[in-house]
Symmetry: C2
């Protein structure tokens, strides 16, 4: 929507021209100089500014559109896209959505919150250095009133200073982070573990029952944002993905 500084587009002279243009615009988007919603200059403006033919400019923009960084529409032009909310196979980024897709009613409860230096136990669980300040939360998510998943999370206030003023009364921390943080890397791990007695009691299953443990950590440019452990009662949950040998189907 907002106006755009076309002069911000500068080429580095390395590699094919269409790729220089693609990278120049991509970098402006990823650096936040052109936030989501920003208008990207039309092809003819970039042609003149950069001295390239329209085909070459178009090739750069078409590739950015394929990658999902920009949205293009005839007449109304090109705008910077919002980062995608969900993600291929394993992505269960939003638990409210996950429950909603099962057709069940969602609710959640914060069991505990502690801001400050991580205890030795929490530090070990999330592989944190000693004396790192974090916000540590445990939550229980419900589907139709029944326990759905147990969440154990740390948030790094260095990356998210706003966390101190957020109560998470309206929005669970996972969704709040999705809306308020920019992440560039994530790591997922899946394993099967037996529920500890305290966990089993919260999830209303028997101690020792098999559970699916999904661990996710996210970073912005190697600065950690959050780490979470999601414990799903086994049997009731499966993560499914479908694809072909050359990519998603």
């Amino acid at each position: 929507m907002s106006a755009t500084q076309i002069d911000a587009v500068t080429l580095d002279g390395a590699g094919p021209l269409y790729d220089q243009i693609r990278r120049a615009i991509r970098d402006l988007i990823l650096a936040g100089t052109w936030p989501p919603g920003t208008s990207v200059p039309p092809e003819h403006a970039l042609m003149e500014k950069l001295g390239a033919s329209r085909m070459t400019v178009h090739r750069a923009l078409a590739q950015l559109a394929r990658e999902g960084l920009i949205l293009r529409r005839r007449r109304s032009g090109t705008v910077v896209a919002s980062p995608p909310a969900s993600h291929a196979m394993l992505d269960i980024l939003s638990i409210p959505e996950e429950v909603g897709e099962l057709g069940q009613a969602y609710s959640y409860r914060i069991l505990q919150r502690r801001d400050g230096k991580a205890s030795r136990e929490v530090a070990a669980r999330f592989e944190l250095g000693r004396s790192v300040n974090v916000t540590h939360l445990t939550l229980l998510h419900f589907a139709d009133g029944a326990p759905h998943v147990l969440e154990d999370r740390v948030i790094h206030p260095t990356a998210m200073p706003q966390v101190a003023d957020e109560s998470f009364a309206q929005t669970p921390p996972g969704d709040w982070l999705l809306q308020n943080s920019l992440w560039t890397q994530a790591e997922h791990a899946i394993s099967a573990i037996a529920a500890e007695p305290d966990e089993a009691e919260l999830l209303k299953i028997e101690a020792g029952s098999p559970c699916l443990l999904v661990e996710r950590r996210t970073w912005n440019q190697s600065e950690p944002i959050t780490a979470v452990r999601l414990l799903y009662p086994g049997g009731r949950h499966r993560f499914v993905g479908r694809f072909g040998p050359y990519g998603a189907v």
Copy 2:
């Protein structure tokens, strides 16, 4: 390497020309008409045959190259690529490789093989219709002599008639299928279950221990090829994936 029938490339008149060309060639590859290693006609030959400009032909081929279906090299030309062996996050397509990457010695043992109509139990487990002929196998894979994963598999002889003459003495069925079948779709599911007593005994764990169950089914053009259930002792195994908001990192 082999000669190529350029006349096999036929357009359907639907959508942009470059996309018609891309789909025509993609379909020849996926159908096996042009198997891996086949030479794809050079751009000028496709230009003449299809009456398109070179830019348009190039656009189609460049996209197929980005998708990994063909390999292009100056002077030597374009050939159909071999399907990729591995696959992003969850793909543990070859158990020997998986064990090798852990730095452990691999071995395996066939516990059972039965060719013919699936028993009611097997049919239910793999969601097969009644009176479907399959080869049913159970195997145990070892890492450094210790049980690593329990495999339970059905292979459809309609898709893989050679299975009748294969003893799997040299190569486990998963790797044999990778080498001898063409698949276009796969589905994965991951869940956590408790080991049944017989499974636990084979894996040398306690009955009821949490295990990671990886189920995979593969098809070629909606014809089923194989379905497998891999039972990994919990705790010892994690599946890890790394990516960014716009794709793999």
